[in-house]
């Protein structure tokens, strides 16, 4: 959904400022740069494989062409980002639907802006602009949770790996060890019930580390 779909207390009073006029080109430049770098990496790596000809393509031909295409598109993304900043689209190009209903002011029954960031405001111009800072700590905890499970599941077994993973993940949402421990125990039981009891997956509950 476009952001205008989601009731936003700030936007109902005054007409929304045209976001594109002051559009930050950085996300586009960053995206373009990423595409160029990844494209170049594929180009370099593919050129080490046999290229062959159009008639008898070697393993490197197709990825080489695609890598080059990605570089070109990356440049295009960056250029468009710069260009669009100076050339804001007019406000008429917004949304096909009628204006959204005004925010329900009875209070308390609307989730409002929080969901806008999460779910709905992810059409093009929303990304990179109206979001909070990167949640580095939460991201690290989420990644750590998954990595811990991956590395621990064989040696430690399903139950300990799940306990650690869900504990770390729960901490990502709320930095409260007691609460996270409670969530971890509950979710571990749930996972064992679903995967081992109901779905009959043959995963050892406790790993080789404990059973010797």
């Amino acid at each position: 959904m476009t952001p205008s779909e989601v009731p936003d207390p700030g936007l109902t009073k005054s007409p929304p400022p045209d976001r594109r006029a002051g559009r930050d080109p950085r996300p586009d430049l960053l995206a373009g740069g990423t595409f160029v770098i990844v494209g170049l990496m594929f180009v370099v790596a593919s050129s080490r494989y046999e290229l062959g000809s159009a008639l008898q393509m070697g393993p490197g031909y197709y990825p080489l062409v695609l890598g080059g295409l990605l570089v070109a598109l990356g440049v295009g993304v960056a250029v468009e980002g710069l260009f669009r900043r100076r050339n804001p689209r007019d406000a008429a190009v917004r949304d096909p639907t009628p204006a959204p209903a005004p925010r329900d002011d009875t209070g308390g029954d609307d989730t409002g802006g929080d969901d806008a960031g999460g779910d709905d405001a992810d059409s093009d111009d929303a990304a990179g602009e109206e979001r909070g800072p990167v949640p580095w700590m939460s991201m690290a905890l989420v990644v750590a949770a998954i990595v811990a499970f991956a590395l621990g599941v064989r040696e430690l077994g399903l139950v300990p790996a799940l306990l650690i993973a869900t504990f770390l993940a729960a901490l990502a949402g709320r930095r409260n060890a007691a609460w996270a421990a409670g969530v971890a125990v509950g979710l571990t039981v749930l996972c064992v019930l679903i995967f081992v009891v109901a779905l009959q997956l043959r995963l050892p509950l406790v790993g080789s580390l404990f059973t010797g």
């Binding site: 989730t111 999460g118 800072p133 979710l187 996972c191």
Partner: protein
């Protein structure tokens, strides 16, 4: 329609096991549709490894059930919370939430459920009628036609979707490139594997999908400190009066027609369909001023359109093996996991699977009406599960699910990698859906490109000298041009915003 095959399908769909998996599918689908913050794409990706243990028919029935179940569930939170649980329910939120504010939540929910049921039923018949002749036509396709068809599918999915098109195209190419990782089909040379045996078979599709759609979405929600839970309006009076029924008949019929038609389009025609239906109903209404203020037609039309489209979007998948949007791409993955190569042959080679799936959709639609109307209180209560508990659960399911697929720790690590990648891509304004489509279709594209060129002795004009291939490429070019026109452009803003 093919009666013998239809009967085969009825027999397949009505076995106790398959009714059960269908029920499980639509229950899970309704749940993720209701809950904002987790969508059908992530769910189906998560459950792919589990369906590995089921037989092909049951697996596909369940996954399909999740998909159209989510279309139903999405409308529930749209009406009760003004938060579309699923992107296509956004239109429903406009008038549905207004009805709820005026104490008519029950009628809105009933309208959505009945409209959806009718549309789902009709669209299932459309699917049954159209699929066989289409797949017969597709059997005449050679590699050149297939290459052009995949190009059209990829381009059209971007053209109809949201976001700056260059970014979406770049995401497709990135997906195509990621799809080349692994052994080259012709020479057997391992490509981009860094000498790692684990990568010989390519990147794991499930890890990619779960990371891009599940974990990345969690990271996005954590930015805002999680999704707030809200108190929900009371629901009463699920019955429609005769006058109300009369009011919704035409919108439902029109919505069904529009949806069936637009659903076939690549790129998530169901969102397009609900917007189109809303626009049509408003234009045809004698009281257009009631739209946006709780017009029942504004719920009936789009809801029907969206569900009809959800069903007919199976047509390209079942007849051509071409996924129209990310959920269908995941179903391609499910086919492959089950050892079935998607394509025009599927209908002939696997009649039980295809027809069982089609009939099960109708069964699923009945189950959904039963689930959504009397059990509405249950879904509403589910909206109170705090996100702080929900997302660790999603992470745990992802990890266990991906690990159980091949007992391979790398598959789990890849989830974290793609999760972070997907998060930053979205932050830079790049939707992950085109990447997934590219990844799924990449091998098909390369294989047909190389085969076509071998057959033509390296002459690239084969793609434009064969009429069908040329027509498909021209369509792809038209899609690009049309997408650049402002009238379509604003519609694109919404389509690819799959909130998986």
């Amino acid at each position: 329609m093919d009666w013998a095959n239809l009967q085969l399908g009825v027999e397949a769909a009505l076995t106790p096991t398959n009714i059960l998996v269908c029920l499980i599918g639509v229950v899970i689908g309704t749940a993720v549709g209701v809950l904002p913050g987790i969508g059908p794409t992530a769910t189906i990706a998560l459950l792919l490894p589990i369906t590995f243990n089921l037989d092909a028919v049951a697996a596909l029935i369940m996954l399909a059930g999740i998909y159209y179940g989510a279309q139903y569930g999405g409308s529930t939170s749209a009406i009760l919370l003004n938060v579309p649980g699923e992107s296509s329910a956004a239109v429903t939120a406009i008038d549905g939430y207004q009805m709820a504010r005026r104490g008519r939540a029950g009628q809105a929910l009933a309208t959505a459920a009945l409209g959806s049921f009718f549309a789902g039923t009709v669209a299932t018949v459309v699917l049954a009628v159209l699929a066989p002749p289409l797949s017969r036509a597709a059997l005449a396709f050679g590699p050149a036609e297939y290459f052009s068809l995949v190009v059209l599918g990829l381009i059209a999915s971007v053209a109809l979707a949201s976001g700056p098109m260059v970014k979406a195209l770049a995401m497709i190419v990135l997906g195509l490139l990621l799809g080349t990782v692994g052994q080259d089909i012709y020479s057997g040379t391992p490509r981009f594997t860094f000498g790692s045996r684990e990568l010989f078979d390519g990147l794991n599709f499930v890890s990619l999908a779960v990371g891009l759609f599940g974990v990345a979405e969690i990271l996005r929600n954590l930015e805002a400190g999680g999704i707030a839970r809200a108190s929900v309006r009371k629901v009463q009076g699920l019955w429609l009066s005769k006058a109300e029924l009369r009011q919704i008949v035409r919108p439902v019929l029109r919505g069904t027609g529009l949806g069936s038609l637009l659903g076939v389009l690549p790129g998530g025609g169901h969102v397009l369909a609900s917007f189109a239906s809303y626009a049509v109903e408003k234009r045809l209404s004698r009281r257009p001023e009631t739209f946006g203020r709780g017009a029942i037609e504004g719920v009936a039309g789009p809801e029907s359109a969206n569900n009809a489209a959800a069903q007919t979007s199976f047509i390209p998948l079942l007849t051509l093996g071409l996924p129209a949007h990310p959920v269908m791409a995941l179903l391609v993955g499910a086919f492959i996991i089950q050892g079935i190569t998607p394509g025009p042959n599927v209908i002939q080679d696997e009649p039980v699977l295809v027809w069982g799936l089609i009939v099960s959709m109708w069964v699923g639609n009945i189950l959904l009406v039963v689930l959504n109307l009397p059990l509405i209180g249950l879904w509403v209560r589910m909206l109170r599960v705090p996100y702080g508990v929900l997302f660790p659960a999603i992470i745990a399911f992802s990890a266990v699910g991906c690990y159980s697929l091949g007992l391979n720790a790398y598959d789990v690590l890849a989830v974290a990698l793609f999760g972070v990648l997907g998060y930053f891509l979205v932050r830079m304004g790049c939707e992950p859906a085109p990447l997934l489509l590219g990844f799924v279709l990449g091998p098909l594209l390369e294989e047909n490109l190389r085969r076509a060129l071998i057959i033509s002795r390296g002459d690239p004009s084969v793609f434009v000298s064969r009429p069908i291939s040329l027509a498909l490429l021209v369509l792809a070019a038209v899609a690009v041009v049309v997408a650049a026109l402002p009238a379509i452009r604003r519609r694109r803003e919404v389509v690819f915003a799959e909130d998986a």
